[in-house]
């Protein structure tokens, strides 16, 4: 028998993950949404605040939404202080997460390159790097020859349509195995006695004045002391039931994967101008994200023209990818906000807490927002890291606009 191909298999999952729980009559905290954010919130409620009379309601299968569909890029090199603070908080938790969860989440700090292709890209990149440094986030500006050293397969020649003029590089950034992360949180929450309730869709809320007293579901009404909304792209479906508005729009976001390949891509590369972001996951497959479809959509699918454009960009930037094969494409539902920043914190209901609007940034925020949401729910006051992302910023105009300057999505 020939030896195993290095990296071609993954660590075993534990023998037991979670109970397929039946809903109880009542919980201190009901978390709507059994994705990464909901499960992480549950974990930190138990771990940091000893709150375990908690239910996580999932309308489908646990972590089957964006958590199962994203490209797992983890980084904290965001422009604005508020953004880098929450993402860096999250990155620090990622760095200890494998131990915390006792689960091989395959967090691989292989670094992320954000390529610059125009002079304005370069200005924006340097601006972001300098801000990152002052905020204590590891980041550097690297010239094309350094880009080639970090990732030799990037086409850094000057004769392509949009030559690489340099890149920002965050060494501590990387990727993790999304299912493993979700299941790690789920298992810990389950161990703490938290009920993870699947195939349980929320159909309405029972309210008393400015308090929510219960959550109506396809598996009966569940009384709730506090309610956390962690439903990403489906958030407005819930807030519509509650009768308040949240400025998020749900769009399809597609991703794709290749067959297993010998290691060629040692890091993570993202390019906005040429629009491609790609890493080579642990088994050897290339994992790539495509662009967001322009229209609102809950179909978990998008236009193939976006994939085709994505492939053109990939082959342009990585000529060696030419004969790699597209194995599978899929789509998620991203909840985009007007300033490309999340919306977290209080709602018009005093015991309902909101967490949405992460757009394409949700996965990397998972531990950080889980911790901050748990704090916000337990202490009934927004965690300092999420305070700037309150709903009322759209009224005051104090946005955290990551569109223009950050110029980096995903």
């Amino acid at each position: 028998m020939t030896p195993r191909t290095p990296g071609a298999d993954l660590p075993e999952h534990p023998d037991f993950l979670w109970r397929d729980a039946e809903p109880k009559k009542s919980y201190d905290v009901v978390i709507v949404g059994g994705g990464g954010h909901g499960l992480a919130t549950a974990h930190y409620l138990a771990k940091n605040h000893g709150i375990t009379n908690v239910a996580v309601l999932e309308k489908g299968w646990l972590a089957g939404g964006n958590m199962a569909r994203n490209t797992t890029i983890i980084r904290s090199n965001y422009l604005w202080d508020e953004s880098s603070a929450i993402y860096e908080h999250s990155l620090k938790l990622w760095e200890g997460l494998e131990e915390d969860l006792g689960y091989p989440i395959l967090f691989s700090q292989r670094g992320v390159l954000n390529l610059a292709h125009t002079l304005q890209d370069v200005r924006d990149s340097v601006r972001r790097v300098e801000a990152n440094k002052l905020n204590g986030v590891d980041a550097e500006w690297v010239e094309p020859d350094e880009v080639r050293k970090i990732c030799p397969i990037v086409n850094t020649s000057s004769d392509i349509r949009y030559p690489v003029l340099g890149a920002t590089y965050q060494p501590r950034a990387g990727i993790a195995k999304h299912d493993y992360v979700a299941w790690g949180f789920a298992r810990r929450a389950d161990e703490a006695g938290i009920d993870l309730i699947q195939d349980c869709e929320v159909t309405g809320f029972t309210t008393d004045g400015d308090r929510v007293t219960g959550v109506q579901t396809t598996r009966g009404t569940i009384a709730a002391g506090k309610v956390a909304l962690c439903a990403a792209g489906h958030t407005t479906t819930l807030t519509d039931m509650l009768g308040f508005r949240v400025p998020v729009q749900s769009h399809p976001l597609q991703a794709l994967v290749s067959e297993l390949l010998e290691p060629v891509h040692p890091t993570v590369v993202m390019s906005n101008a040429v629009h491609v972001y790609v890493s080579q996951a642990h088994k050897g497959e290339l994992v790539m994200g495509a662009g967001v479809d322009s229209y609102n959509g809950y179909g978990q699918r998008g236009a193939f023209s976006i994939i085709e454009r994505q492939m053109a960009a990939a082959v342009e930037l990585f000529p060696v990818f030419a004969r790699a094969h597209l194995l599978r494409t899929w789509g998620g539902i991203v909840d985009t906000s007007p300033d490309a920043s999340p919306i977290v914190g209080r709602t018009p209901y005093e015991n309902v807490y909101l967490n949405c609007g992460w757009g394409t940034g949700g996965f990397k925020a998972t531990p950080g927002i889980g911790d901050c949401m748990a704090h916000t729910i337990a202490l009934d006051e927004p965690h300092p890291h999420v305070a700037p992302f309150a709903l009322d910023r759209f009224v005051t105009g104090a946005l955290v606009d990551e569109h223009g300057a950050a110029a980096v999505a995903h």
């Binding site: 601006r127 002052l134 297993l260 050897g284 004969r323």
Partner: protein, 954 residues
């Protein structure tokens, strides 16, 4: 080199030609019509690859894309990772080897060409098997526009692997006639080697045509290697056939273990004996044909092992007549052999209990657990599936609008039924299209399938152990034991089980393993298979090369290059270009030995000291006409446009509804009811769309018409104290004096009968004239200006110098000095925000609390105290803690450097920056970290050159 397992005759290969190829370093031969797999089997080689986790030998287990076993790496003529030997057509010079799980990418770029073609049809038929051919013929005869695509090298589908007789002749003859008839219809597109890999909305099907792969080294280089067909069909007929389903048992992964239908195909299509001594393990009648055909071909069939208690009385007779032993109510419980199966372990199965097993020697173990209709495309199109108990398979559960499934893909498993179903589905499609059926000949007569016994659904044979060698997904080395662990871990959803075990995630995306996993999981959970269901089918049906999807959009064609009418002149003058959006703009014109700094200092000095010229043709230009044009522009610009006089020019700023600056530019009033609006280069399309959106959707009552004239008018700013001399010389009919032609006015003139417009607009603070001319004449006028400028040392300059000159005057570049969070007030342009107008886009947002925050960032100038450091653009600005040190992170930031240059005029570097409360800090010293050192800089006003504006009139 020999091919001992090649039959003496038969098969659809061209024995008159011999092809040579190399596999795992060994040279073999084959013939045109072979696949890599059939040629290797002919050479007696079954073991192809080693499995990804366990390193177990794996062989050819099927004859086409459903094969989970024969993963290979192509090395020559060009490296390509992970293909199935069963789908690689053989060609001379092919070099390949078996894969241990991971493919290898070529280190060198792929020089092959790829492209795409759009095609429109009434009826698209996917699959040229019996059902598909009949459907295509039926539609073609009705005069419909038809496309027929099939993934294999030749039409026929399942018929290529049988000895069926149609209309009294061998199947291939009927297929050939059908193909010939289709070819005679002008509106029929028939593509072989073309895989429909994705079915999307509104009858949109993507199909990959492999055009030259089979030619190997002989492939012409100017023809695309692969082509993506983008087919729009009013009706889609999916006749993609069915995949035979294995039965899981211990050590079911050994080379020599093959799906029964696959073995039959190797015999009939490729003239290959997959072995000498065979055992057949089946749960249904169809597989008996394989045993009998192989028997006739000289293979000793040791036994037919039929899991059904009664087996199949009818087929048993056929076997006994041929002297083949049939064991009913028996199963294969395991196998022996390493590189090749040597024995099948056979035991009786009664009431779910497996008895004692005995070994039967064999080098070929045929397996058939029934058939899985290829519902992939139907499912991709969001078609719901239902589990069919009788077939033990998932079938389309609904009619999809515009998509019909025919033949074995719909669960019809006999030839006569498939032919009839093809006709039925095509008739329905024609009816839906309102097309008359036309002349239709009768369906071919076929021998009725003998009455048989119902199939039995058997997912796996209990192996008495933990199932750790009972493979469900060979490509992932995933076993029954893994499924048991997954359900034991508490998982109930098939999606979770798939992720836990990785079943169905490999190269074949679960073509053989998917339904097995559902069935076995249902067993383990004690629920109906319908309840577990399948995981979602996703495009592509089979893997597609990245480059094939990139198509023609590579290299220079990746994204359009937009150029001005004078581009070739810039190239000839050695300009260095900058990408601005899709435009190529000259950035600077280096002279021999000059770097950018030197060139830009020279260009700046020459322009402020004499005269320079810029190709400003990329500026967006919009013709705005109509009685309400002025009113319209008043609503969009922050300042008043309606008060502008005909013949005059005004600078204007545009904001979004959120009050943030989105664009700026000058507006020329050409007439009472006509304006020429200039936008930034990057903003041209956005601004026109912005204007159209408001006009059409919000103010349709306004009588205003918009038109882009960006390319119509080439624009050349002639800038500097000597510009008057140059412009006056070229346009003698114009009085260029300040009195006759004051600042911010325009004049029309002509040159050689060609209308030319001149405008006194300055983006540098210098005396300047912008020359507008129909782009037909742009090159000529540009050269006239250069010629007339020579005596004054006219210097062409690029975007870099333009940026320096405007920055010295504090003029912002939208998108560089702004980032979508900046208001006109932040830019110090309160003067450009009308107090008179009741409203304009963005005005209301100025009144929000955050807009009156004293700490808003404002545009100011920065002067490095050392008079030497050029602050990198993007640098952050900080205040020092007491003691002159940076406080520990997070360090509060005051803002950032938006523009920074070395100024020839000032003899020192300077910068523009957005700084919190910046205007109130003028005179203060703040600091900018640059490469680890803190550079002290003085905050100044944003206008650093000629603040009193003395130069603009020359």
């Amino acid at each position: 080199m020999s091919a001992p397992f090649r039959t003496p005759e038969g098969g659809r290969i061209d024995r008159s030609t011999t092809l040579e190829f190399t596999f795992d370093g060994q040279t073999h031969t084959g013939h045109p019509g072979d696949t890599l797999a059939s040629a290797l089997l002919a050479a007696g080689r079954h073991s192809i690859a080693t499995s990804v986790k366990l390193g177990r030998p794996r062989g050819v287990a099927a004859a086409w894309a459903e094969d989970p076993g024969s993963l290979v790496q192509i090395e020559e003529p060009f490296p390509e990772p992970m293909l199935l030997a069963t789908t690689v057509e053989l060609y001379d010079g092919l070099v390949a080897h078996g894969l241990p799980g991971q493919g290898r990418l070529a280190e060198v770029p792929d020089s092959a060409r790829y492209d795409a073609v759009h095609h429109h049809v009434d009826v698209l038929v996917v699959g040229a098997g019996p059902a598909g051919l009949v459907a295509a013929l039926t539609a073609a005869r009705a005069g419909a526009r038809v496309a027929l695509v099939d993934e294999q090298a030749e039409a026929g589908g399942a018929l290529l692997g049988t000895d069926d007789v149609l209309d009294g002749a061998p199947a291939p003859e009927w297929v050939a006639a059908a193909v010939a008839e289709l070819a005679a219809h002008p509106d029929v597109l028939h593509l072989q080697r073309t895989t429909a890999f994705g079915l999307y909305d509104d009858g949109f099907v993507l199909a990959l045509e492999r055009r030259t792969d089979h030619l190997g080294t002989a492939a012409p280089r100017n023809v695309s290697r692969q082509r993506v067909w983008r087919i729009r069909a009013r009706r889609v007929v999916v006749a993609a056939g069915a995949h035979e389903r294995p039965v899981v048992f211990a050590d079911n992964d050994r080379p020599g273990i093959m799906l029964a239908g696959g073995a039959r195909t190797f015999l009939h299509r490729y003239g290959v004996l997959p072995g000498r001594e065979a055992v057949l393990f089946t749960t249904n009648d169809s597989a008996y044909d394989a045993a009998l055909d192989l028997h006739r071909a000289g293979v000793r069939v040791q036994a037919v092992v039929d899991a059904r208690p009664e087996g199949s009385p009818q087929r048993r007779q056929d076997c006994e007549r041929a002297g083949i032993r049939v064991l009913s109510g028996a199963v294969v419980t395991g196998t022996q052999g390493v590189e090749r199966v040597t024995h099948a372990l056979v035991a009786p199965l009664a009431a779910g209990e497996v008895g004692a097993s005995s070994a039967i020697g064999c080098d070929l173990l045929l397996v058939s657990g029934g058939w899985n209709p290829a519902v992939h495309l139907f499912s991709q199109a969001r078609g719901r599936l239902r589990y069919d108990e009788a077939l033990g398979a998932f079938l389309p559960a609904e009619e999809l609008d515009g998509v019909a499934v025919a033949g074995s893909a719909a669960g019809v498993l006999d030839l006569a039924g498939c032919l009839a179903d093809g006709r039925r589905v095509a008739d329905a499609a024609l009816a839906a299209l309102g097309l008359a059926a036309g002349e239709q000949s009768a369906l071919p007569a076929v021998e009725a399938t003998p009455a048989g016994s119902a199939p039995m659904t058997l997912w796996r044979v209990p192996d008495g152990g933990d199932g750790s060698t009972s493979f469900v997904d060979l490509q992932r080395d995933a076993t029954v034991a893994d499924l048991a662990r997954a359900t034991g871990a508490g998982l109930r959803s098939m999606e979770h089980v798939k992720r836990y075990t990785t079943i169905g995630t490999a190269h074949d995306q679960g073509k053989t393993s998917g339904v097995l996993a559902s069935g076995i999981t249902a067993e383990l959970l004690g629920v109906p298979v319908q309840a577990t269901g399948t995981t979602t089918f996703r495009p592509p049906y089979t893997p597609v090369a990245f480059a094939a999807l990139a198509g023609r959009d590579r290299g220079r064609l990746f994204d359009p290059e937009r150029v001005t009418a004078v581009h070739d002149w810039h190239v000839a003058e050695g300009a260095v270009f900058e990408d601005v959006g899709q435009w190529k703009r000259p950035r600077y014109y280096p002279r021999p030995g000059e770097d950018m700094d030197a060139a830009v200092l020279r260009e700046c000095a020459a322009t402020r000291g004499g005269v320079g010229i810029l190709d400003g043709s990329t500026l967006g230009k919009i013709d705005v006409q109509g009685p309400d044009a002025a009113e319209f522009l008043d609503r969009l610009y922050t300042n008043m446009i309606s008060s502008l006089k005909v013949g005059s020019v005004r600078y204007g700023v545009m904001c979004g509804v959120d009050g943030m600056v989105i664009d700026d530019g000058t507006v020329l009033r050409l007439a009472e009811d006509r304006f020429l609006v200039l936008t930034t280069t990057g903003g041209a399309a956005k601004v026109l769309d912005w204007m159209e959106e408001w006009l059409q959707t919000e103010w349709p009552q306004l009588r205003v018409r918009l038109a882009s004239v960006t390319e119509q008018w080439s624009t050349f700013p002639v800038v500097g104290p000597r510009s008057r001399d140059v412009v006056g010389a070229v346009f003698p009919d114009v009085d260029v004096s300040n009195e006759a032609f004051p600042f911010m006015t325009w004049r029309d003139t002509a040159l050689g009968g060609v209308p030319v417009r001149l405008a006194r607009i300055s983006f540098s603070g210098e005396l300047a004239y912008e020359v507008y001319v129909n782009s037909w004449y742009a090159r000529a006028v540009w050269e006239r200006l250069i010629e007339a400028g020579r005596p004054h040392g006219i210097t062409p300059y690029g975007t870099e110098t333009m940026h320096v000159l405007r920055a010295e005057k504090g003029y912002p570049i939208i998108g560089q000095d702004t980032d979508g969070t900046v208001t006109p007030h932040d830019l110090g342009m309160a003067w450009a925000v009308s107090k008179k107008k009741p409203d304009f886009i963005g005005k209301r947002s100025f009144a929000r609390p955050a807009n009156s925050d004293p700490l808003r960032k404002q545009l100011v100038g920065l002067l490095p105290v050392d008079r030497d450091t050029v602050l990198p653009e993007g640098s952050q600005i900080v205040e020092l803690a007491d003691g002159g040190q940076l406080p520990p992170p997070p360090v509060p930031m005051l803002g950032h450097v938006t523009s920074s240059y070395r100024s020839a005029e000032l003899g020192r570097p300077f910068a523009l920056a957005l700084v919190k409360g910046g205007r109130s800090r003028i005179g203060e010293t703040v600091h900018v970290p640059v490469d680890g050192t803190l550079v002290p800089v003085e905050v100044t006003g944003s206008v650093l050159v000629d603040p009193e504006g003395a130069r603009r009139d020359g």
